[in-house]
């Protein structure tokens, strides 16, 4: 049973190969500015994909994803600044700490439904922020300069962002192409119906939460390596989650391609609005609201409405000629 027609597979693989070649070679032909822009796009794409995995597939609308960005950033800062260990270990610690924290908070958080879950995640992130502000071990509200960042070239930072983006994308593709992903897509479309068909909702949501937390933590480490400074109010700031929501909503929730498109638009808009910092979030908010009203399923929703689009081959198809043959045989009888 083939999963896609041959033609689609070829087109898909060529598209992906071209994208990978362009991205890998970018630092060798693109200027510093372009490389920096793509560094941001890749990192924002990673966190957008992770928020989308939670909200778009598992139906868990979190306003507390910044907790994992902050934990990731602090993991990197502590490893490199306090323990003076190779900074790459910070990424590993970011994933481990984020998963452990997600596991601990999942018990109370998962007992909350819908909007209470959303509020609960936000309160948890706020609580972590307050705790870090008064915790001597993490240097209170002063935070850390991440000095290792100054020794990194733009190209090195780009490839770290590329790695993080790749991890996020590959994780989502692997999940959605698996048996687990099939249940996740069913859950996305109709939670109650998926349960009656045998999908275990709690377990599926927990797995999504853990994966999303781990990779958001890793992305948080990369984002703060790029920013080179972290303190609680910024690290655990809700602006991070607002960015993720914008990326997923604009691009299209419940699709892999949506956050890629959303991240590109988000980063470009942020650059265009750079000189209007006070208004940039307001303008982004207005754009998101207009988008929700005009195209509630985002840009990918519009594309899918016109023509089915499946760059990463997560859609399962069947050769319908076997049914036609059966119908013809029956008619002949």
């Amino acid at each position: 049973m083939k999963k896609q027609t041959g033609k689609m597979t070829t087109v898909r693989w060529i598209s992906l190969a071209v994208a990978v070649v362009l991205l890998v070679s970018l630092p060798f032909w693109g200027g510093d500015y372009i490389v920096n822009i793509f560094t941001l796009i890749l990192m924002y794409m990673a966190i957008g994909e992770m928020w989308n995995l939670l909200a778009g597939y598992a139906g868990l609308v979190s306003l507390g994803a910044q907790a994992f960005i902050g934990l990731g950033g602090y993991s990197l800062a502590m490893i490199s600044q306090v323990f003076k260990l190779p900074f790459l270990l910070g990424f590993l610690l970011a994933a481990v700490i984020s998963v452990l924290f997600a596991l601990i908070i999942s018990v109370p958080i998962f007992s909350m439904k819908d909007v209470y879950f959303t509020i609960g995640t936000w309160l948890v992130a706020e609580a972590v922020c307050v705790f870090f502000q008064s915790w001597a071990f993490v240097n209170f509200n002063v935070g850390y300069n991440i000095t290792v960042a100054r020794r990194l070239s733009g190209t090195a930072m780009y490839f770290i962002a590329f790695g993080v983006g790749l991890i996020a994308l590959v994780a989502v593709v692997i999940i959605l192409r698996s048996k687990f992903g099939l249940g996740l897509m069913a859950m996305r479309d109709n939670e109650a119906a998926s349960e009656i068909r045998g999908v275990k909702l709690y377990r599926s949501k927990l797995i999504c939460f853990l994966v999303s937390s781990a990779i958001t933590g890793i992305a948080g480490a990369a984002l703060y390596l790029n920013l080179s400074y972290i303190k609680p109010t910024v690290g655990f700031g809700i602006d991070w989650t607002v960015s993720m929501v914008f990326i997923a909503v604009i691009g299209g929730m419940g699709t892999i391609e949506g956050p890629i498109i959303g991240a590109i638009i988000f980063v470009i808009l942020r650059q265009l609005l750079y000189n209007f910092s006070g208004f940039s979030m307001l303008i982004l908010g207005i754009i998101a609201v207009v988008m929700i009203l005009v195209a509630p399923k985002g840009i990918m929703g519009l594309i899918n409405k016109k023509k089915g689009f499946d760059l990463f081959g997560v859609k399962r198809t069947v050769d319908i000629s076997i049914f036609k043959e059966d119908a013809e045989t029956a008619a002949a009888k």
Partner: protein
């Protein structure tokens, strides 16, 4: 005929309002039990209790000799209870094939590879093969109903709960649904079929249970129920002789 499902003294209230009041019935292996009754009789609530969506206040639901009241919804599906909903609940953005595939994978706890052949078999049965790659959200009502039956069959159920699968369809479409239900019955699956269309109950069931006000008033062969004065009382609100 062995009993596959036995419901004893089943009752549930919502905020002091008795929705089901001591329901008792049995379904035999390979039997089709029709359920009829006016709106508010408690028919769908009964299916919700059997499938695990609602918990009864009292009574027993014995499926294959085991009280399943404490079993979760997913456990009941895997044990062999499949169900459809009055308003079809398809996975709208997934294709027809993916809808069935996901339901087989999770309902039978098998790999996608193993599920593929079973999914094709079901698509043939519900006559949706040629629409297999279309998004479920774009299907017409009749095809949504077919998909709903197919998804319910995906767990390889021993008991199938059908909730008004013929509702809102034309006569020709109802005949098509009736054909599918007969094929399912002939494969040995027991069926509980809630329906308002009298002809489907007469043609497609072995016995009919008449419900009203949360009670089972009469259970008998279809024609016996249809000719009973109780049916008139329930639907017309008056005795036939009056």
């Amino acid at each position: 005929m062995d009993t596959i499902l036995s419901v004893k003294d089943l009752g549930i209230s919502f905020g002091g309002n008795k929705v089901l009041d001591s329901i008792n019935f049995e379904v035999g292996e390979g039997e089709v039990l029709g359920i009829m009754g006016p709106n508010g009789a408690g028919k769908t609530v009964l299916l919700n209790i059997i499938s695990g969506i609602l918990k009864a206040d009292h009574g027993e639901v014995i499926f294959l000799g085991e009280d399943i009241q404490k079993a979760k919804i997913t456990e009941r599906t895997v044990k062999g209870i499949g169900r459809t909903f009055q308003v079809p609940r398809a996975f709208e953005h997934m294709s027809v094939y993916e809808n069935i595939l996901a339901s087989v994978v999770y309902g039978q706890k098998v790999s996608e590879k193993e599920a593929a052949a079973k999914a094709i078999e079901i698509l043939k049965l519900v006559k949706l093969g040629e629409r297999a790659n279309e998004p479920a959200g774009k299907l017409s009502l009749i095809n949504r109903k077919r998909l709903e039956i197919g998804a319910a069959l995906a767990s390889d159920p021993k008991l199938l709960l059908l909730d008004e699968v013929a509702g809102g369809l034309t006569n020709a479409e109802v005949a098509g649904i009736l054909d599918i239900v007969r094929t399912i019955k002939n494969s040995g699956v027991s069926i509980i079929w809630i329906e308002h269309i009298i002809q489907t109950l007469v043609d497609g069931t072995d016995r009919v249970m008449l419900m009203a006000g949360g009670r089972d008033l009469l259970t008998a062969p279809p024609m016996e129920v249809m000719n009973s004065s109780i049916v008139n009382e329930v639907y017309m609100g008056a005795d036939e002789d009056e």
